[in-house]
């Protein structure tokens, strides 16, 4: 499917402003197929923005972004097609409130992929089974716990058979006892070889599942290293400071 050597995500010289605020500064980042990259950084450093530029939920000012070797198209049909191949999981789940869990998981495949309803439901049920909430399939999102909702949201993204998955703080809105059920699903996904870019503060997940850790500060990528290197031997003062604060909790 993917030609060897083409990274799944390539960001080159990407810059972005929100008004006067320079949120992304000369970002260069390649994510190889099958790689799991965790993005760390203090609040406001631009992690979410970085994540959202990859499927163009946020447009960029300059630079290039490629997904699987293709430049991000401008708004329109081609962009929609690309987004279908890029799964996204949000901090606040964003499940469709008026649809049941099963409908949430089948809507994209039916409307975008043009799958038959029967196929979409069969595949959707299998995915719900996999994330452990098949018994909730006929409920509405509001009737589920946060952890269950986030697992449903992961299943919804996977139902599109994406080439790459983006996670923006998928466990930050969860009660502590529900964090692990979501991280477990993500760890399994990582082990199965899914290409993932994950913004998270879960150091355990980063150590366990990530191939690389990218540390951002003030819109810049300050460090890019293997997890064990980054955690034991951060080179920049900003990363040391950040780790000091996080790990002292």
């Amino acid at each position: 499917m993917t030609t060897a050597g083409t990274p799944m995500i390539r960001m080159a010289a990407v810059d972005k402003h929100f008004g006067d605020l320079h949120v992304l500064r000369d970002i260069n980042l390649d994510v190889e197929s099958g790689q799991v990259v965790v993005v760390l950084g203090p609040s406001g450093s631009g992690k979410s923005t970085l994540c959202r530029t990859i499927n163009r939920l946020e447009p960029i000012d300059s630079g290039t972004i490629q997904v699987d070797g293709t430049d991000l198209p401008a708004e329109g049909k081609a962009l929609a097609g690309l987004r279908a191949d890029v799964g996204m999981v949000f901090q606040s789940f964003n499940l469709f409130a008026h649809k049941t869990i099963l409908e949430n998981v089948t809507l994209g495949p039916i409307k975008v992929r043009k799958d038959s309803k029967a196929d979409a439901e069969k595949n959707g049920l299998a995915l719900l089974e996999r994330v452990g909430i098949a018994n909730q399939k006929d409920k509405y999102p509001a009737q589920l716990s946060g952890g269950q909702q986030q697992r449903a949201a992961i299943a919804r993204a996977l139902a599109m058979k994406p080439k790459v998955m983006l996670f923006d703080e998928p466990t930050s809105a969860l009660d502590p006892e529900m964090v692990n059920e979501v991280l477990d699903v993500m760890t399994t996904l990582a082990k199965e070889g899914m290409t993932m870019l994950v913004v998270t503060h879960e150091m355990g997940f980063a150590r366990r599942a990530a191939h690389r850790v990218v540390f951002m500060s003030d819109g810049e990528i300050v460090e890019d290293a293997k997890p064990e290197e980054f955690f034991s031997n951060p080179t920049s003062d900003r990363a040391k400071d950040f780790l000091g604060k996080i790990l002292s909790h």
Binding site: K77, R83, M88, N94, F96, H98, Y140, M160
Partner: protein, 215 residues
């Protein structure tokens, strides 16, 4: 009671027209109003301006003026020849759609942006995002005000009597010509409207109950 019984045919045919006019205008205004709301939130600036210009014009023009235009001015334009009933319907639809548009748009604003973002992230285009995700939720949140707009429409159909569309609002004229007691006659008319509004109120309750689970 006599006024009603003696003129039962009159009442039935008049209210029949009222109901027909209402149904045509209700469906038409809901469709047109929703399309206008879609224009008002579309990413294309020209469409957005058209939507807001439309609302400004029709929401601020008295309905009588709109209907008089279609009754007297429209035929002089010598466009398509339309029956009185059709012209009354068009006038009511154009006028009511402006109100439906604003109600639906306020409903759209209650839908969290994350819903549209999740939909775009799945690969839905603007149209699919609107029809599959945003509008169904928007409409659910505005059932009561939407019902009020439709009840107002039902009552506004009476103005069409200035148009020779004979409906419930025109009953008094016939009664007074016949020398019947107009006051009693009008009481029966207003009772008729109360009865017509009841199913709308009922429908509103049922929709609200059905959709309350999903929020």
């Amino acid at each position: 009671m006599d006024v009603l019984v003696d003129n039962l045919d009159l009442y039935l045919s008049a209210f029949g027209q009222t109901i027909l006019l209402f149904l045509v205008a209700a469906v038409g205004s809901l469709v047109l109003g929703t399309v206008l709301a879609a224009l008002r939130v579309s990413p294309v600036p020209i469409l957005r301006s058209f939507g807001s210009a439309y609302v400004t014009v029709f929401r601020n023009t008295p309905l009588t003026l709109v209907l008089f235009f279609f009754a007297f001015a429209y035929p002089r334009l010598e466009l398509v020849d339309l029956s009185f009933f059709a012209r009354a319907s068009v006038g009511l639809i154009l006028y009511t759609a402006a109100f439906v548009c604003e109600v639906v748009r306020s409903g759209i604003n209650t839908v969290p942006v994350g819903q549209a973002e999740a939909s775009r992230a799945l690969g839905f285009g603007f149209g699919q995002t609107l029809t599959q995700v945003v509008l169904p939720q928007a409409v659910r949140s505005v059932v009561p005000p939407l019902t009020s707009v439709q009840i107002a429409l039902l009552k506004n159909t009476t103005i069409a009597s200035g148009f020779s569309v004979f409906q419930a609002g025109g009953i008094y004229a016939v009664l007074s010509e016949q020398g019947d007691n107009v006051f009693i006659g009008l009481l029966w008319v207003s009772l008729g409207f109360l009865i017509l509004v009841a199913p709308l109120t009922l429908l509103q309750r049922r929709l609200e109950n059905r959709w309350s689970v999903a929020r």
